[in-house]
């Protein structure tokens, strides 16, 4: 086997095997039958009133350079899967988290660790608000999440 796309597939295969043996509480793999796109559901387990009783759908997209390059991770809106309210999550599902950007990403991260980071990002939040400029961004954005220049200013996430 050679480097390249198989590199990503191999790594994802390993993650999948591990995931099939169990995920941390509140994380469920919904769909993972290929090495390009996975769907996962996450829940916030503590009693944060903002997120209690809700389940959120995450979509992971993996490029051929995964895990050297970060996956693209967004929340997906479905009838029973809202977009969680958070000052760093736009209402179209795009997440502003340095972990998912070129700078913050490290190949030692994996799908499970990303889900857990998002869980804790939600758990720790008390603000019932969207990011500033959310409406404008959602209306005007034509870029893929990875091409957006986020400015990570908040270290308390």
């Amino acid at each position: 086997m050679a480097p390249g796309a198989q590199f990503a597939a191999k790594r994802l295969g390993k993650e999948l095997t591990k995931i099939s043996k169990g995920l941390p509480a509140g994380i469920v793999l919904v769909q993972g039958d290929n090495f390009e796109e996975w769907l996962l559901d996450i829940q916030v387990l503590d009693s944060n009133p903002l997120y209690m009783g809700q389940t959120y759908r995450l979509k992971f997209k993996f490029g051929s350079s995964y895990p050297i390059e970060p996956p693209e991770v967004v929340f997906v809106k479905l009838p029973d899967r809202p977009i969680p309210i958070h000052p760093h999550i736009y209402s179209n599902g795009i997440i502003c988290l340095d972990l998912l950007g070129q700078q913050g990403w490290s190949p030692v991260q994996n799908v499970e660790s990303v889900c857990m980071s998002l869980q804790s990002m939600l758990t720790g939040n008390t603000k019932n608000e969207r990011p500033p400029g959310d409406e404008e961004f959602v209306r005007g954005n034509r870029l893929r999440p990875k091409d957006i220049d986020f400015y990570y200013h908040d270290n308390n996430v």
């Binding site: 050679a2 390249g4 390993k14 591990k18 599902g93 190949p107 400029g133 893929r144 091409d147």
Partner: protein
């Protein structure tokens, strides 16, 4: 001979779960690379004392010169091989199958009947997958001491069954069930865990090595103990500062390396970079691959990474270049400034001509219709008016027409990132407008041969919005 499997269904950490040897899970974890999650392949130590596979860390450093674990600065030239770990990993991988067989065995069964070696192998390779669950639950009930006893019994069984097929020398020793090395009974277990090197038919050289055969010249097994002169190893390749090297020089260098020099500049750079990664990682390997194998790897890489598009047209390559995250937008704008201005001027001229023609035509028709309506020209007319475009322009620039058109096509290409599966529509109900609205008006009149592209040349250069949440 590498321990890594070709299929995706490779030995996994979780194999140890629910077996009496579950304690080996963290051990195996420690033998696996944090990046590829596979057993370390030529482990390299960084200056911050973290370890990764050679190819993993080299590939990552080519995108970001920091340690994936602690973010410390890491220089590729300062990577050092972690040979002791390499030995440990190789030894563990060798012993792993046996250990796993033992771990998954139904040990509660009272002294199993003698079996022939062949049968022994069959039951434990073919039946392994199906029986995994049942065996592991059963074996969990058994206490540690019994497990060890049962393990020993199994080993003896295997050895005894060997006796029935081979004549055993009466030296009071037993043969290792794996490598056939002869030793005292109580040495078998430690040997299996620590130093057994695998079946003798597959690895005659390894086996002889572990017996301390002085003729062994392979330096991979005991480099620290067997002081053998280093084989002449291939030299590592230095990284190139691509921004400092001219096209011709790069092509020459790649030709010297025996690499293809086909394709655009960015393709050459990526190909060269990947070759340096593959080559240098191979230099760290205990069993370096042959050059042609590496070239094959490079070829596969090039195919799977999509850099060599099926129609590797100039336009497509330029498009890929422009899509790249490191694309130098300002540089591109400056470099092609003249070209863009020419196109704008052309577009204006064409537009004026068409307007003039239309005005004249409308004046003629003035008698039977109102002329004012024709004064407002539909924009489409402007864009599809290449007939009046001076052909001489192409020659004036010393470029072939095809080349100029190629550039035109590439401008189409750079709007393509959207075709990679991310549709803006996913995130917004509005149809994409590709940022064209932010352009000066005249930019919309760039003439194109063929269909009007969805965007225009300078779009990605100027219109990349920066979203600052604060």
């Amino acid at each position: 001979m590498e321990p890594r499997n070709e299929e995706l269904d490779v030995p996994n950490l979780t194999d140890w779960l629910n077996t009496p040897l579950a304690g080996l899970m963290p051990v195996e974890q420690a033998f696996r690379c944090h990046v590829c999650k596979d057993f370390y392949n030529s482990p390299m130590l960084t200056s911050c004392n973290h370890t990764f596979c050679s190819i993993c860390i080299r590939r990552y450093l080519s995108t970001d010169p920091t340690c994936p674990l602690c973010r410390a600065k890491v220089e590729e030239v300062k990577l050092r091989g972690n040979w002791a770990l390499r030995e440990a990993v190789d030894a563990f991988v060798q012993a792993r199958d046996t250990l796993l067989q033992v771990a998954r065995k139904p040990v509660a069964a009272p002294s199993p009947p003698k079996r022939k070696a062949a049968e022994y192998d069959e039951t434990h390779t073919d039946g392994r997958e199906n029986k995994r669950h049942r065996m592991s639950t059963r074996s969990r009930r058994v206490k540690g001491g019994e497990v060890t006893a049962a393990m020993m019994r199994e080993e003896y069984d295997a050895i005894e069954s060997d006796d029935s097929t081979y004549s055993e020398p009466d030296d009071g020793l037993v043969a290792c069930p794996i490598c056939q090395k002869r030793m005292k009974v109580n040495q078998v277990d430690p040997h299996l865990e620590a130093s057994c090197v695998g079946p003798p038919d597959e690895q005659s050289s390894s086996a002889s090595r572990s017996r301390g055969n002085p003729n062994s010249n392979s330096r991979s097994a005991r480099p620290a103990v067997q002081i053998s002169p280093q084989k002449t190893r291939p030299e590592r390749l230095p990284a190139l500062a691509y921004s400092m090297i001219k096209d011709g020089a790069l092509r020459k260098k790649m030709a010297e390396l025996g690499l293809s020099t086909a394709g655009s500049r960015p393709m050459l750079e990526r190909r060269h970079q990947e070759w340096v990664i593959i080559w240098n990682a191979n230099c760290d390997s205990a069993k370096p691959k042959k050059r042609f194998e590496l070239l094959h790897d490079l070829e596969v890489w090039e195919k799977t990474m999509g850099t060599r598009a099926p129609t590797s047209s100039r336009a497509a390559i330029l498009g890929a270049q422009i899509k790249d995250k490191n694309f130098d937008r300002e540089g591109w704008a400056n470099k092609n400034k003249n070209s863009f201005q020419d196109l704008i001027a052309n577009a204006r001229r064409t537009r004026n001509q068409v307007e003039k023609q239309n005005r004249e035509a409308s004046e003629e028709q003035q008698k039977d219709s109102e002329k004012q309506r024709h004064e407002q020209l539909p924009e489409v007319m402007d864009l599809t008016g290449p007939s009046s475009q001076p052909e001489g322009k192409y020659k004036a620039e010393g470029k072939s027409k095809a080349e100029v058109e190629g550039e035109g096509e590439s401008k189409v290409e750079m709007d393509i990132p959207l075709d990679e599966g991310f549709h803006p529509a996913d995130y917004s109900p509005e149809p994409p407008h590709y940022g064209i609205l932010e352009q000066p008006k005249e930019m919309q009149y760039v003439p194109h041969q063929g269909p009007v592209p969805p965007g225009n040349a300078e779009m990605p250069i100027q219109s990349k919005p920066t979203f600052l949440p604060q």
